[in-house]
């Protein structure tokens, strides 16, 4: 991998030049939250943030996407043109980059490649940046605190400079386009990178052991814990929407009867919704909340492991922060293990919120 470095104080110049590669989107503060959007000026960009409200998946799998229109006279017309708009995502954390890699295995792997996802993904440049973990991050436990692919450039804070990893030829083009802003790193820069990386790993306060969790979940399939969590869960779907790797969607055809035309759209869905497992004929395989929330944990921590070799959870902590019922995934996992959580409880709620 190629390494370069850049003075921190020149980052605004670099982001200005990035516009050659697409519309620049970055973390920006909106009230109490940080969202990914288009900054009106450099000072809008917030690089020292814990997590964005919504993850970057909205760029490759929008909350609502019109896939194609259909018309009796014109036939089918896809709307891939909009998906071809080049976008540069600047300031993405490692676990979010990892989450895009996970979504790639779902939507681009196998014998069928999702054309809507793949078009957006091809036109999405990703530039990563370091982060300081807070009490809800457990990316170290999910092995997502560092990522080795899925980005064009990755900026590591080494004091007055950024040490930059160049991940793709597009990233190399970005560095070359900016010309004088980048320079060759020195031995002391690598030393500082290692020192700060070790510091960041030591800063995690939340740890959860996931290695044998699929088997423990198998053992606890009929545990009372799921009934207790089901009583608490509101089935609002918030955890699914803020999760970087939840990808369920609902497909609807909206027709204009008189004109004999319409469109097919897909919308974010959630396995917590009552209708998620409802099939034609009226049978609902997960009528109650307990079965639905159990399904979500089993899918992310067991089913995904069986199919793709790793859990789909990336330890971002968004579900912990966003859940209105204060259900904490780390506490739930520890309860399933029969262990106490960080607060000394066998409860599964987040007391810190």
């Amino acid at each position: 991998m190629k390494f370069v470095k850049m003075k921190k104080e020149e980052l605004d110049f670099f982001v200005s030049v990035l516009s050659a590669f697409g519309e620049v989107h970055a973390p920006i503060r909106r009230g109490q939250q940080v969202v990914i959007g288009t900054p009106a000026r450099w000072s809008d960009v917030c690089l020292e943030y814990a997590r964005t409200t919504l993850p970057p998946k909205k760029y490759v799998l929008p909350p609502r996407e019109v896939m194609f229109t259909f018309d009796g006279a014109k036939g089918y017309q896809d709307l891939l043109n909009e998906a071809r708009k080049p976008i540069v995502l600047f300031g993405v954390h490692s676990y979010d980059i990892y989450s895009l890699n996970i979504l790639d295995t779902v939507f681009l792997g196998g014998s069928y490649k999702d054309p809507y996802y793949s078009t957006r993904r091809e036109n999405l440049a990703v530039i990563g940046i370091d982060f300081q973990p807070d009490e809800h991050h457990f990316a170290y436990s999910t092995d997502t605190d560092f990522v080795d692919h899925g980005f064009d450039l990755f900026f590591h804070d080494i004091g007055d400079f950024y040490l930059v990893r160049v991940g793709t030829s597009r990233g190399d083009d970005m560095a070359n386009k900016s010309g004088c802003l980048f320079m060759a790193p020195e031995e002391k820069d690598f030393k500082e990178f290692k020192r700060r990386s070790a510091q960041r790993r030591a800063a995690y306060v939340t740890h959860v052991d996931l290695r044998d969790l699929p088997e423990i979940l198998e053992m606890e399939y009929r545990s009372h814990i799921w009934e207790e969590i089901g009583e608490r869960c509101l089935s609002c779907g918030t955890c699914s929407f803020v999760c970087p790797t939840c990808y369920c969607y609902d497909v609807r055809d909206e027709c204009s009867i008189g004109d004999r035309c319409g469109q097919r759209s897909r919308y974010w869905d959630s396995c917590l919704y009552r209708t998620h497992a409802l099939v034609a004929g009226g049978e609902n395989f997960r009528k109650d909340r307990a079965s639905r929330i159990k399904f979500r944990y089993y899918h992310k921590q067991r089913g995904f492991v069986a199919e793709y070799g790793r859990p789909s959870c990336v330890g971002c902590g968004r579900c912990i922060v966003a859940c209105p019922a204060k259900i904490d995934i780390v506490s739930v996992i520890m309860a399933v293990r029969g262990e106490k959580d960080a607060h000394g409880n066998k409860d599964f709620g987040s007391k810190s919120l």
Binding site: S16, V17, S19, V24, A40, W42
Partner: protein, 135 residues
């Protein structure tokens, strides 16, 4: 002489006054915005024929971000923009040439701008964009 409506975006009142006088003497009407936010509001309201955009406003790269917003906005994206800035003189560390295909403006002019050059480029850029009608 064809008159164009020009939006001048610059936080320097002296530069704005002298440039306004120059453009008015060439028969153009001039609107002045001091900040990027003001510029976008005035552009949406008045739909100028041309925007003269400084870079170093309240922040040293603010003009670049304003330019990006102009190009994103469906109402404004076709308005030609000439960037006029002393950024290369004032920030010698930033030496990325504007001609290297990253700046979505029609022209870049370094301050101080020769008055004849400015008048000529204003007319050329607007005519190239096809806005040849007088007001």
């Amino acid at each position: 002489m064809t008159e164009y409506r020009i939006l001048l975006v610059d936080d320097d009142p002296d530069f704005a006054a002298s440039t306004t006088a120059l453009l008015q003497s060439a028969g153009h009407s001039v609107l002045w915005a001091k900040t990027g936010e003001e510029a976008l509001r005035m552009a949406r309201q008045d739909r100028p024929d041309l925007i003269l955009l400084d870079v170093m406003l309240s922040e040293r790269t603010e003009g670049f971000f304003v330019l990006q917003e102009i190009r994103r906005d469906t109402e404004l994206k076709d308005i030609p923009v000439i960037v006029i800035s002393s950024i290369y003189a004032e920030c010698p560390g930033f030496r990325v040439s504007p001609e290297k295909d990253w700046l979505p403006a029609e022209r870049f002019l370094a301050k101080p701008v020769d008055p004849i050059t400015l008048i000529t480029e204003v007319r050329r850029v607007v005519e190239e964009k096809g806005k040849g009608e007088g007001r």
